[in-house]
Symmetry: C3
Subunit: 222 residues, 3 copies
């Protein structure tokens, strides 16, 4: 699950900051928009930052995600730009949160995993992912493997991974041809040397080489 940490109330306040019509260096072409008083000073902004980025419920978060949330907008941005960027980022967090709440996405670091619930063969699954700007879910470490496993368990359906056997039998590679730098093969797998060129994940997170024409759950990463 994607776990966020920030004080929502402070965030809401921070979101009120970006220039509204009444306190905004407005568009001069639009006389209908009321004029302009200055933006709050930097001191005010930093107050909101305190809220947005305070070590809130740090204990509930994986260290990496906590660090990520701490990620700050450099003080080199001026107030207005910072406010606009914070507003956009906050709204992204909101939408990511809603989709995670509905079990539609699992966020791990910068990756998002998602399924459409459909079971198709390998090439159709890959195509669905690529058509929408992603690729087949490809676990690069244990945390990502667990996230994909979570979706496999959610739908209770095995899923193809973004891994294929190369021309050298028994040697598996990522879709871009690079060699694997993380694996989670089940014991005695892979064992289909040259005849099972795809890889599926079980509900326990283990991998098994399999034929590519089975019907498996589509899980993409973006």
């Amino acid at each position: 699950m994607l776990s966020y940490s920030f004080c929502m109330i402070a965030a809401a306040v921070a979101l009120l900051m970006p220039c509204h019509a009444q306190n905004c260096a407005g568009a001069p072409e639009l006389p209908s928009i009321p004029g302009v008083s200055g933006l709050p000073g930097l001191g005010g902004l930093n107050r909101y930052f305190g809220g947005l980025f305070q070590p809130y419920r740090k204990e509930k978060l994986p260290e990496r995600q906590w660090l990520q949330r701490q990620q700050d907008l450099s003080t080199s941005f001026d107030d207005e730009l910072r406010n606009v960027l914070l507003n956009l980022r906050q709204r992204l967090f909101q939408l990511e949160g809603v989709l995670a709440l509905n079990g539609k996405i699992t966020k791990v670091g910068e990756k998002i995993f998602a399924s459409n619930g459909k079971e198709v063969n390998f090439s159709s699954a890959l195509e669905s992912c690529e058509e929408t700007g992603g690729t087949l879910a490809t676990p690069m470490n244990e945390e990502e493997n667990k996230a994909i496993m979570g979706i496999v368990k959610q739908y209770n359906r095995y899923a193809y991974l973004g891994i294929k056997e190369s021309d050298t039998a028994g040697q598996f590679k990522y879709m871009n041809g690079q060699p694997l730098n993380y694996t989670n093969w089940q014991q005695y797998e892979p064992n289909g040397k040259g005849t099972e060129k795809c890889v599926e994940m079980y509900t326990d997170g283990n991998w098994k080489d399999r034929k590519c024409n089975l019907y498996r759950l589509t899980i993409c990463e973006y």
Copy 2:
């Protein structure tokens, strides 16, 4: 519901503005990407702003949302930055719109309310919200209370609010320990002094103190 106001056609035009491959200061290491001609002048941009922020269908919008839409990007941003920011913001409006259309979010000011449709006890509901970066829906004014009521009615299920009784019986507080500054108790509520430490919302928007181990609709705010 979140009600937006802007001229979609003008917006689409504005979105075409950000630098495309053929007029873009490209990545020098990539000779495959075509180089670079200048960005369109400010005059063109201001024209699009007129479209984006014109008082379009003002009469259909709550005053606050209308003001929010008027919120402009300072003329202190240069053309290219402004275009990128407008593009990002426009795409956020689009996704928010789609999720609102599907009844997945209700936007009030800067808050977004959402449910996963699941009925669980108070601590599980809170955990679902926090894991996804939010907290339990906490009405801070009548408009927010109505938005949450809309979700309660949509699912026809009562919901826990992000409010708990403090150690002082009969005294209720927000999850962060702050005292309530808006309430909508049903008549003769709260009445469970010390034995009903949670608060639920009815389909009429009224509040009632209740035990925390009931199964109630999960409604989060982000």
Copy 3:
């Protein structure tokens, strides 16, 4: 469908770039955040751009979308701002991808088409779209017409378009009163001169003028 093209792995790497606690000009107010080394040099960034914007699977994309993806962030942005913007944009692509994967949106150029699956009369459909910041789906060219047809076929339900007969019988206009600059009337249509003031799309993408009080699939554009 929205078809994206970029190398997700490189993108994920690029997303790691925005300042994290450990390599970030951090928030001075938060002494708990580990200190600060410089951001990676521009050379490094451009490397990621290579990944993000390489002509990856160009052959799979409509020319326009390919150009759009090539859209670069000017080198006039400093490294930090560029990283923040890339991060926001990448997360938007992710959410758009997830919603497209789930059949919830169809992206054509800068427009997004979406349905809530409900069949209502013309004015109710229009209201649902406008309340959420959009308007009724209005095909401006063949590509958009096909995208809307895709949703009509997905739900196997005819849909009203954002087009109405003007006071001059037989003359149809966009909702903003402008004359049509693209049409796809079925043969012998429109034929309801003055009595059928709305337009519906069939599963073959053709248009027919119809009464406005029928129950048709709501398809909005944002």
